[in-house]
């Protein structure tokens, strides 16, 4: 009896799976925009605002404008738990979803981005790894479907050095200074090392490398090294629990917070909260402004939250990572508009959206039209340059008012150096994988 019920249950489960796999409801044409999110698992605290910003903006477009140019956007979230295997399952499951097929994927993880680069290229679906993923994917001739605008880790590392140079009173004063890099011991954390090494040689500062193993709950030894080595500045490439612990440990050795700069994935409200007042003055890179004083966010509040459709809590709208998720949605929407214009049809597919991404141009006018004046600086994506070399600012945590404030101008990355490194790395990848770089002219 027991066996029979189990057999029946298994069979019906299998039948339901099969049925669900093939049952697609025919409806009006929609832009299908999957989003790989992680609202669970070790990185959920960061994944939640990212996902909310994205879905809220798209919902706002659907509510306010009836979608993009009158076509609804259908955001399908797939929960990955920051797991590569599940993400691959999500990708395969969603890539043919809807009439348009998946238009674009946001992997939200360096590991998953790497895993999807060859696949998405073969399937002709663009990947937007906004400010993360593989830096050398900025070379559009080798990675035609991968975009990492507005700026990469390498650009960011160069901006940090420039910022430090400015604070020290000129790039020449960097000579003999010591900069420590505290990084997550993974492909992600190691991204900036090469750039920093090149810059260290050029400007004559000393680079101290301090890896922290995943997950980074325990970093006493790392910060003992900092205490002993007495670096003038500390950069951090951290993620998840590593950020909170690092800030707390830095405070415990009385390292000056305003000489401690985190990558833009180490600079959100989550990261500084557990350290409390001790985190005051901590710096982080950013590609956009924090806060709520933007037309787009006001629209989200009126059209989405006031109607009770918000993805998360209202008081978390405007957090750093929320705004970043929203920015992904804004870029996606603009790319869709571009693609529609280029191809003269509203029914675009992933390949056509790629063309829209490659002419993505952010100007002061387009920003104010999107309700984003002063949110970020203009940049331009081209066929060769998928990074766009956008400007990067430094933001500082103000523990008293519990908010992030921009404290620097928008700084231009050292494009000449970064571009050279990108070309070199992309060339090696092309050679190993027998890719002939396409011509962009």
């Amino acid at each position: 009896m027991k066996f029979r019920t189990m057999a029946i249950a298994a069979a019906s489960a299998a039948a339901m799976v099969a049925g669900a796999g093939f049952a697609t409801v025919a409806a009006a044409y929609e832009y299908t925009v999957p989003n790989l999110v992680y609202r669970t698992g070790p990185y959920a605290p960061n994944g939640i605002p990212l996902a909310n910003g994205f879905i809220d903006y798209m919902n706002m477009l659907n509510e306010r404008d009836g979608g993009i140019d009158g076509v609804k956007v259908n955001v399908i979230e797939c929960e990955t738990g920051y797991n590569t295997k599940v993400s691959v399952e999500c990708y395969e499951n969603l890539k043919n979803e809807g009439e348009s097929g998946a238009l674009i994927f946001n992997p939200h993880s360096t590991g998953v981005t790497y895993a999807l680069i060859p696949k998405a290229t073969a399937d002709e679906i663009p990947i937007l790894s906004m400010g993360y993923g593989r830096t050398s994917a900025a070379d559009g001739t080798v990675f035609p479907y991968i975009f990492n605008f507005p700026a990469t880790y390498w650009s960011q590392a160069s901006v940090f050095v420039k910022y430090v140079g400015a604070k020290e009173g000129g790039m020449d004063n960097l000579k003999g200074k010591k900069i420590a890099l505290v990084y997550h011991n993974s492909a992600y954390g190691k991204e900036p090392i090469k750039t920093l090494e090149v810059l260290a040689e050029k400007y004559g500062f000393e680079l101290m490398l301090l890896p922290v193993d995943h997950p980074g709950q325990e970093q006493k030894a790392t910060w003992l090294q900092v205490r002993r080595g007495k670096p003038d500045w500390v950069f951090m490439w951290g993620w998840g629990v590593m950020n909170q612990v690092a800030i707390k440990e830095a405070a415990a050795i009385r390292f000056p917070m305003d000489h401690f700069i985190g990558v833009w994935w180490s600079g959100s409200e989550n990261d500084v909260a557990p350290a409390g007042d001790a985190a005051d003055g901590y710096l982080a890179g950013t590609m956009h402004a924090p806060g709520r004083d933007f037309g787009a966010i006001k629209d989200i509040i009126t059209h989405v939250y006031d109607k009770g459709n918000g993805g998360g809590d209202l008081d978390r709208v405007g957090e750093v990572l929320y705004n970043r998720g929203m920015l992904e949605a804004i870029f996606t929407a603009q790319a869709i508009r571009n693609a529609v214009k280029i191809h003269g049809t509203k029914e675009i597919n992933g390949k056509q959206l790629r063309d829209g991404l490659e002419v993505l141009t952010v100007t002061e006018e387009s920003l104010s039209a999107d309700g984003l004046s002063n949110f970020m600086k203009p940049f331009k994506v081209t066929c060769e340059d998928h990074e766009g070399a956008g400007l990067i600012a430094i933001q500082q945590w103000n523990a008293k008012d519990q908010k992030w404030v921009l404290v620097s101008d928008w700084i231009e990355p050292m494009t000449d150096i970064v571009r050279g490194l990108v070309k070199e790395d992309a060339g090696a990848f092309a050679k190993e994988n027998n890719i002939t770089p396409r011509s962009c002219s």
Binding site: F3, M16, V17, K85, V88, A115, P118
Partner: protein, 358 residues
Amino acid sequence: MLYRETGQFKTSYQSDQALFTITQDRFLVGAILAVAVFLIPFGINDYWSKSILLPFLVFALISLGLNILVGYCGQISLGTGGFMAVGAYSCYKIMTSFPELNLIVVIVLAGLCAAGVGVLFGLPSLRIKGFYLAVATLAAQFFLVWMFNKVPWFYNYEMSQITAPPREVFGVLVTSAEASPAAQYLFMLGFVIVFTWIAMNLVRGRVGRSWMAIRDRDIAAELMGVRPLQTKLTAFAVSSFYVGMGGALVFTIWLGTVEVTETFDILQSSFFVLFAIIIGGLGSILGSFLGAAFMTLMPVVLKVLLVDVVGVIPVTAKHIEFILVGSLIIIFLINEPHGMARMWGIAKEKMRLWPFPY
């Protein structure tokens, strides 16, 4: 009725020593193989290949490897992820150093590398037993993952995330994203079939019997003349060989790219495979397959059921999935601690009597 052995006489030594002595078994295995080899490749698409069949096959191979160590030789190992990483990274190293080498050879060589490392980390098993050994094998897990992150030689001085370059086997592309799902599936299936066959013969031969002797009572086995040193180390070697090949296949065929910290994470590899063999059945070849199927398919099935059929929002579905997976595991352990292989045995028993159970 359906499954009756009476009247099947073994008239030669050869038939007595066959892998499947019963006609029904032969027929069933033949039918499954026929479907797997001749039918599935025509109906396969990317989703079925990447999300269901490839992970199932590769974890079946890895579970088989771990089952040899845990189920047949009784040495608990939590270092599976580390040995998978050895397979993946040595495979990458060999692939890029000798681009002309056939991928089949490369993967077997990668397995051999893992076997060597496995023997090294198996040495403590001579002194340490039970949970002390289990925790000690975690040293392998953490050390190997750290090493592949740290030593740039292993990833050719690029980023530590390695990507499988395109390779052809018998003129058909099997790695990289352009490879057809059918080719990848058949390549993986070939490995699984051949090495399952080898494992089945291994465990019933002299080597397998000495493993089981050590498992059942190591001191008694030693008194009978089974040498614990060789026996335990061969178990570690063979097991790591399978696990290493599995890691190489994960890297080349299934994912195409590997980030060592994440892909070979302890929870997602070591514990995952241990779950598979315990739920499937310790010391059973069939159990390795059933367990791998259960562990790889259940999350997908639950997700489809909860999200697409019932309509729960994905994040809540994930939480419920966690609870359900955990509860299912506990329920399984309570109801059938000997795993799904035993359930199959009970089912066979029922089929023997059917339709007259009394």
